[in-house]
């Protein structure tokens, strides 16, 4: 049973780690992937291996320089994934969307296969 907005927001606050928060959003299918013309993002299948990452996997949390709607922080990580028989390194950059102070989902800015593209750094 999917969580309501308020239940999701409460569960988000309970999660102690950035990775836990990202996993929660993916598990609950609360993620939007931006379809962009410059630096196109890859498909959602590249996002799902995050659920298998160990708790200690490194996630960099940085203050969002651009501000705007949503959380103050942006989450940046890289992870290895075996997709269609190929081991690739995925770059993910995302922040959490807010509505009336409640956290409602993950906004995926960049989702890239690093072997095909050069990743952005900030």
């Amino acid at each position: 049973m999917a969580l309501t907005d308020s239940e999701f927001s409460a569960a988000f606050l309970k999660e102690a780690t950035p990775l836990g928060k990202i996993k929660l959003a993916i598990r609950e299918e609360r993620y939007n992937i931006w379809i962009r013309k410059n630096k196109p993002n890859v498909s959602e299948e590249y996002l799902l291996p995050v659920l298998e990452l160990p708790d200690g996997h490194d996630v960099r949390v940085k203050r969002r320089s651009s501000g705007g709607q949503g959380s103050d922080c942006v989450y940046v990580m890289q992870y290895s994934a075996l997709i269609m028989g190929k081991k690739i390194v995925v770059y993910l950059k995302a922040y959490f969307e807010k509505d009336d102070g409640s956290v409602i989902g993950l906004e995926v800015q960049s989702l890239r296969n690093t072997q095909l593209t050069l990743v952005e750094d900030n």
């Binding site: 931006w34 705007g68 028989g85």
Partner: protein
């Protein structure tokens, strides 16, 4: 029209609700999205993904057709295998492709199997013969998505990926049973083709 934060422009931009269509093979999924007026980016939401899947699964016909090139050796093998299972060539290719994408590619030993298929003594079985023949292979929505992901990951064109799948599966069916580490998957493929042939 609304002013919202655009993650691509990294500033507040004007967004308008627009009718958009997402290309799916020769079809196009029609939907609406809030599109940034400056960079034309929009969000693919879970709701859109679900609706697109529902739309795609509603097609009883194929949504795309690819035309892999078969050399005469592979073509002859395909004809022989198809006759053995009372199949036409195109349905056989779809069965081989399904097994390749769902079972072979996901096996831990995939890289090793690929190397085997590219070895000179194996390769010679399928890479000889000059004349090349096109074969039209129509895929449904699920097939289109699976093959699309494979092509994205391996950075290969769809027709080329189908050629690779055919060549690999033909090698496996014809010669895999004689290689001890491939015997099991070769038998699995044979059983899969036999079962699928009943439904085809």
């Amino acid at each position: 029209m609304a002013n919202k934060f655009c993650v691509v422009c990294e500033k507040n931009c004007e967004f308008t609700v627009e009718k958009i269509s997402i290309s799916v093979g020769r079809e196009a999924f029609p939907t609406t999205a809030e599109v940034c007026k400056e960079c034309e980016s929009y969000k693919m939401t879970p709701k859109m993904r679900r609706e697109m899947d529902q739309w795609g699964l509603g097609f009883t016909k194929s949504v795309v057709e690819y035309q892999p090139l078969l050399n005469e050796t592979v073509d002859r093998y395909l004809e022989e295998i198809a006759a053995r299972f009372n199949l036409q060539k195109t349905p056989l290719v779809k069965i081989l492709l399904a097994f390749y994408l769902k079972d072979i590619v996901s096996a831990d030993t995939f890289e090793g199997m690929k190397k085997w298929a590219q070895r000179e003594d194996t390769h010679q079985y399928t890479q000889t013969g000059k004349r090349e023949k096109k074969l039209g292979v129509g895929l449904n929505y699920i097939g289109y998505k699976e093959l699309g992901l494979f092509c994205e990951v391996w950075n290969v064109a769809p027709a080329k990926a189908i050629e690779e799948a055919i060549s690999f599966c033909v090698c496996l069916l014809e010669h895999g049973k004689t290689v001890s580490r491939l015997k099991e998957i070769a038998l699995e493929l044979e059983a899969f083709v036999a079962k699928s042939a009943i439904a085809a």
